[in-house]
């Protein structure tokens, strides 16, 4: 359909564009501007140029938070994707029992992060928690895992991966159900065993789904806040201080609007770069398919 006037498409887009500008573009611009000031919301802001960024770099805080967040995201994305894919492959069958298990696995995704965090805190309790009891039965030390700087971050990643597995499973199930059965049957007739069928037929056709799951999980894991706030508050010894929580600490606990804004700008830049890389990889694959 051809628009009657050149401004008609813009008029249609205007409500969405307005929301985008007001709630995304302007706040990012304001954050970038405020990152050049030292400000506590109470006294007059003082222009400090790039000092907030310099301070974050000089103290090693920026690198620490970025590496920690990337490490956490890698564990969450890897964990949720592999368990989600495994469950999707195992549960892609008809029958009430499988439907019940699928619903049970997905239910964790529907529960709020706060409830999930509280549940895991109870299970990980150093004295009476289920995990501690199992560790004791196995003869291992039952020190609280969330109180140990070496273990707290991986444990948080396990909690997040557990919650997000249901989401990954459902999307993979949709992807699996989009694969024509005839292809798998043909491969089976050709003598391909289960692993060969998965590697040569299922996985190549699931790749776009996997890319989608990876991107959405990456964005979700980068935004981790509730689980940190409830379980560890960034501790012990900063070991679970992820990007969003670090921003929260700077602005709400340390009363540093400028430094929090600087962290937000870097956070935006990092996510933007990762999303761009992801998009380019997709486009490259798409153009290769077209060329083939």
């Amino acid at each position: 359909m051809k628009p009657r006037a050149a401004w008609h498409p813009w008029a249609m887009l205007a409500p969405t564009l307005a929301l985008l500008v007001v709630f995304f573009i302007v706040p990012i611009g304001v954050a970038a501007y405020e990152s050049l000031f030292s400000w506590d919301l109470l006294t007059a802001p003082r222009y400090v140029g790039l000092d907030n960024y310099r301070a974050l770099v000089a103290r090693g805080e920026l690198l620490d938070v970025a590496l920690r967040t990337l490490g956490y995201s890698a564990l969450v994305v890897g964990g949720a994707m592999s368990s989600g894919l495994g469950l999707a492959l195992a549960l892609d069958r008809p029958g009430r029992l499988f439907a019940f298990i699928r619903a049970s696995v997905f239910s964790a995704y529907v529960i709020s992060w706060v409830a999930v965090a509280l549940l895991w805190m109870w299970m990980l309790d150093g004295d009476d928690g289920l995990v501690s009891r199992l560790l004791r039965v196995a003869g291992a030390s039952s020190s609280p895992l969330l109180g140990d700087p070496r273990w707290a971050l991986p444990v948080l990643a396990v909690i997040a991966a557990w919650k997000l597995t249901g989401y990954a499973m459902v999307v993979f199930l949709a992807g699996l159900q989009g694969i024509p059965r005839a292809l798998l049957e043909a491969a089976a007739l050709d003598g391909a065993r289960a692993w060969a069928r998965f590697r040569n037929v299922t996985w190549p056709l699931l790749k776009p789904t996997a890319a989608f799951v990876a991107t959405t999980l990456l964005a979700t894991s980068f935004q981790a806040f509730d689980v940190v706030r409830i379980t560890t508050q960034g501790g012990p010894a900063h070991s679970t201080e992820l990007f969003v929580y670090a921003i929260y600490e700077q602005i709400f606990l340390d009363l540093r609007v400028g430094r929090a804004s600087a962290l937000s700008v870097v956070f935006f830049g990092l996510l933007f770069s990762l999303a761009t890389l992801q998009l380019r990889a997709w486009r490259a694959r798409a153009s290769m398919r077209h060329a083939a």
Partner: protein
């Protein structure tokens, strides 16, 4: 280099008061006669004129400021918004007292609004101040009082009716809680005030025939005796949150001070290192102390839960939790003063009532009525005896003593007697940042990973000096 920011953080009502004060600094203005005149809802003539002028200034600016220019009224009564940060039993007691106040008179109604924990409440308060919608009344932890005072957002209280005559317990008043070498305006009045205290499982110490420890060495010995390891489970001898407040107590006990005579932030020097090294020894070498998981108030809660479930035989906590522990524990709870190394020392904790300058004048005066009412003997006693917080006025203490309260409640007596050993906080506006940025994360790191105490505190001192 400085530049004008597009948004100002100064509430309009405060600007009005600033104009009214003709550019005199807030600290000085509070001490000078015109504003030091008594502020009441029915002021004497001289003060009435001042109030009218202030009121005129406020109503002028309120045209540009929106709803906070004038007090809200409900059935003819002035509504005082009161943002508080207390939970559980203490919250219930506070709400009971507020209801009692509201029922007691016809001019004012206090509306308490829960705002999360202390730091969450502070964050919201700050945002409200910036937006020009600050409540008239709130309460803030001691460490941020100098910061808020310097920012000019607090109302000096000296000029309010009866402020100078309040018979406050010295260690709990602003003057006693902070270094008082410099005269400064009255910014806060004691509300829920506490000190750290040691708490022991009474049954265990009787079974083991143990005397409560009065020195660090005795504490380590008692913790060793009370620690039991059976079939993979541990009952710990001692637990304390690895946090600033308790560390500051130990710095004092080891003979140190956070700030030296020249005003330099020393973090106690060697005493600060000894305090940290003592914790490291108990946790890592002797394995008799359990560092609780979580940070801030979650660590406090975890410590109390461990104690109540008899996973820990002795802990340090706040006097504020005495009543809760006594009522919840299935065993007798025995309180003891914190032990000494070179001397006895405790910091005070809890919060002070503050009035926000940006609030409408009428609301502030009404809020003051409520604060004064809370400081009256009956309320000070009710608040203290029902919660475990310290009684904040001398008449309240006298009446409790004469009525035999301390005989019947020896734990409360221990808490009160510790006030004799209060070390005042330095009046450092950036103190809370020194706490959160420089000290607390490093304490946690050193205790959990075994990092060298001297190296840790040297780094903390450098950071603290940069911050302060």
């Amino acid at each position: 280099m400085s530049a004008r920011h597009p948004r100002t953080s100064t509430p309009c009502a405060r600007d009005a008061l600033r104009e009214f004060g003709a550019g005199v600094s807030s600290e000085r203005r509070a001490l000078e006669p015109p504003l030091a005149a008594r502020r009441t809802l029915e002021p004497p003539l001289a003060a009435r004129r001042d109030l009218l002028r202030a009121g005129a200034a406020l109503s002028f600016t309120s045209l540009a400021c929106g709803p906070r220019g004038r007090a809200i009224r409900e059935d003819g009564r002035i509504v005082v918004p009161f943002w508080y940060a207390l939970g559980d039993l203490v919250r219930k007691v506070l709400l009971d007292l507020v209801a009692q106040f509201n029922a007691s008179q016809a001019r004012i109604v206090v509306r308490p609004v829960h705002q999360g924990d202390y730091f969450e409440a502070l964050a919201k308060l700050r945002t409200a101040i910036a937006a020009g919608v600050a409540p008239a009344l709130s309460h803030v932890v001691l460490e941020v009082l100098p910061y808020l005072a310097r920012a000019g957002v607090l109302e000096p209280l000296d000029g309010y009716d009866g402020a100078a005559a309040l018979p406050l317990v010295p260690g709990l008043s602003q003057e006693g809680a902070f270094d008082s070498s410099t005269r400064r305006p009255l910014w806060g009045l004691p509300f829920n005030r506490s000190t750290p205290i040691a708490v022991l499982d009474g049954t265990l110490i009787e079974q083991e025939r143990i005397a409560v420890p009065s020195t660090w060495d005795e504490l380590a010995a008692v913790a060793r005796r009370l620690t039991r390891r059976e079939s993979g489970q541990v009952r710990w001898g001692f637990e304390v949150p690895i946090s600033w407040w308790y560390w500051v107590a130990m710095v004092g006990q080891a003979g140190g001070r956070l700030v030296d005579d020249r005003g330099q932030m020393t973090l106690g020097g060697e005493a600060g290192e000894q305090a940290l090294a003592f914790w490291q020894r108990l946790v890592r070498e002797q394995k008799v102390m359990r560092p609780p998981p979580g940070r801030d108030y979650q660590a406090w809660q975890s410590t109390s839960e461990s104690f109540l479930r008899r996973r820990v035989a002795m802990m340090w906590t706040s006097t504020a939790l005495l009543r809760y522990l006594e009522e919840s524990a299935p065993f007798p709870v025995v309180a003891a003063p914190l032990p000494r190394k070179l001397r006895w020392s405790v910091p005070t904790g809890g919060t002070m009532f503050v009035l926000l300058r940006g609030a409408p004048e009428e609301e502030k005066i009404a809020a003051w009525e409520f604060v004064r009412w809370m400081c009256a003997t009956d309320q000070a006693i009710a608040w203290s005896t029902r919660t475990g917080y310290l009684p904040v006025t001398r008449p309240a203490v006298e009446r409790l003593r004469e009525g035999g309260w301390y005989g019947a409640h020896p734990n409360d007596r221990v808490a009160y007697d510790q006030l004799e050993h209060v070390d005042p906080w330095p009046w450092v506006p950036e103190l809370f940042r020194v706490e959160r940025d420089a000290v607390e994360p490093r304490l946690e790191d050193a205790v959990l990973t075994g990092r060298d105490a001297h190296e840790t505190m040297t780094e903390a001192r450098q950071q603290a000096r940069r911050t302060a």
